[in-house]
Amino acid sequence: MDVFSDLITYFTNNGSYVWEQFFRHFLMSAYGVLFAAIVGIPVGILIARYSRLSSVVLSLANVIQTIPALAMLAVLMLVMGLGTNTVVFALFLYSLLPIIKNTYTGIRNVDHTLIESGKAMGMTKWQILRMVEIPLSLSVIMAGLRTALVITIGIATIGTFIGAGGLGDIIMRGTNAQDGTAIILAGAIPTAFMAVIADVLMGWLERSLMPVKKKKQDSNEQEEVTA
């Protein structure tokens, strides 16, 4: 109970600071994902077209994913120095795999007869991409962004090691302070909260982008019931 009241006290005394870090944390994650989307979606589309590239690109992204976050930050720091940009770049790298992979899968899984249907109608390649492939794989692509965002929110906490700030700062303070449990929680709870909210919101967005709305929503509800 002590911890809980400590926590409340911390929030009331440092509200604006927590809020500031929360916002900073979110921005770093969001930027990382945004840049990854800008790069990853076109790459995903490209490798869906030229499937020979796909194994190379995907395994490369996979390798990046397996590098431990601290090691990655350390290496990037050597090259890019301290600061927020380095963290955003690391988050960008971690976001690439889910985004590229989902875009690739999404586009690949568009029913071939629909593409043929569009082609037979006289659509150009670009029109097929814009009017058929992307709309039909949008929800899968969104799922990729969702995964990426949740991952980056988690990883962004260690940005504090290279002075990028964020909720990780608060956690670090807690670990350095004597009896800092409440402070650690003051950093960890908003992080978890942010991840959950991001997941829910993105999930909602993802579902609303489903090509066949009603039917899929039904099956999603079923999934949630069974889960």
Binding site: L114, A120, G122, M123, V212, K214
Partner: protein, 379 residues
């Protein structure tokens, strides 16, 4: 309007789907491709709009080699109903129907109007326009698929089994409707099916394929009358062949080739002898070359026994006769309508070649009822 010249298609795996196809179709023709599954119907059709490119040979539309045209432009000039329907799930029915028009840059309002107009063709209310494909039944989706191909009013339409998912009643109605529509709009239609009834009903010409080879190409009548080989016969089915018999057999095939005749310069007494020996009450009269002149019957002989001497004197000219290539179907109708006992059959130069009597008709009726069983018994 559409021409195949030595067209072959070999798929990458080495499978020859179509080999050396030569065909020519006129504008406004309703062409039906038929054949067992995997015989290359879809492949042939897709080569017309270049979804598949032929390995060999050329295809011409209005004397233009399609390989020299821009594929996108070519496809926009051809309506296509894909075998799998292929409606876009993320678009409303209206968007689906008018997508081609959108590609052709029609204004929004005109597109909407056209979609409504088309929907009424298949007896669907405008409130369907705002629905999504998954809210429609399979049959309704299929109709939308057909409408989509009609939207831009292209002169050539390719349809790959467009009525496959419909119940027999709806299919029948839609076939009728569609055939009318085709005639009215004067469209050239290439239609794929493996339902022979559908083919016979819709086609101006039927193209029968087997293992990528052309087996026979002809009007439904021609194909029923002279199936090219056993494969075609089997594909048509015995039952249909027998049923179709009166509709396609010619008079020549069923006539009695030995009518009782007499030349016009014979004496009447001879005529009576001929009648007596053949046990008939009338005689067909021909001249020396065998040209039909008319007939005499026993009544006329009886009435004019005293005055007349030669057949020519009591000859009743202008007998109703039929041409030997006339269809039995039509001849039966004439016999029944005019209450004739028989009809002489003549060739192009009015030479008498045979006679159709009411007894011959009995044979046909007998055949169409029991002929089937006899065929089976004979085997």
């Amino acid at each position: 309007m559409l021409k195949f010249e030595h067209v072959s298609k070999k798929y990458k795996g080495g499978k020859t789907a179509v080999s050396n196809l030569n065909l020519e179709f006129k504008k406004g023709e309703f062409i039906v491709f038929i054949g067992p599954s995997g015989c290359g119907k879809t492949t042939t059709m897709k080569m017309i709009n270049r979804l598949i490119e032929p390995t060999e040979g050329k295809i011409f539309i209005n004397d233009e080699d399609i390989m020299e045209k821009d594929p996108v432009k070519l496809r926009r000039e051809i309506g296509y109903v894909i075998q799998q329907i292929g409606l876009f799930p993320h678009m409303t029915i209206q968007e689906n129907i008018s997508l081609v028009l959108k590609l052709l840059k029609w204004p929004e309002e005109k597109r909407k109007k056209r979609a409504e107009e088309l929907l009424s063709l298949v007896d669907m209310t405008p409130d369907y326009l705002e629905r999504y494909p998954h809210e429609l039944s399979g049959g309704q989706q299929q109709r939308i698929g057909v409408l989509r191909a009609l939207a831009a009013d292209q002169p050539l339409i390719l349809m790959d089994e467009p009525f496959g998912a419909l119940d027999p009643i709806t299919r029948d109605a839609l076939q009728d409707e569609f055939k009318n529509l085709q005639k009215k709009l004067d469209k050239t239609i290439v239609f794929v099916t493996h339902d022979m009834d559908e083919a016979l009903k819709l086609a101006d010409r039927i193209v029968i394929l087997r293992d990528g080879q052309l087996v026979q190409c002809g009007t439904p009548d021609e194909i029923l009358r002279e199936p090219a080989d056993e494969f075609v016969e089997e594909f048509i089915g015995k039952e249909r062949l027998v049923q179709a018999k009166p509709n396609i057999t010619t008079v020549e095939q069923i006539m009695n080739a030995h009518p009782v005749t007499i030349t016009s310069d014979e004496q009447l007494s001879n005529a009576i002898t001929v009648m007596k020996t053949n046990r008939v009450d009338s005689l067909l009269v021909i001249d020396q070359e065998g040209v039909l002149e008319g007939y005499i019957d026993v009544e006329a002989i009886d009435q004019n026994r005293k005055k007349a001497k030669d057949v020519a004197d009591i000859l009743i000219p202008d007998t109703f006769s039929v041409y030997k290539d006339a269809l039995v179907r039509d001849t039966i109708r004439q016999i029944l309508k005019k209450g004739l006992k028989y009809v002489p059959v003549v060739d192009e130069k009015r030479h008498l070649v045979g006679i159709v009597t009411r007894t011959s008709l009995v044979d046909i009726v007998y055949d169409s009822i029991w002929g089937d069983e006899e065929l089976e018994r004979a085997q």
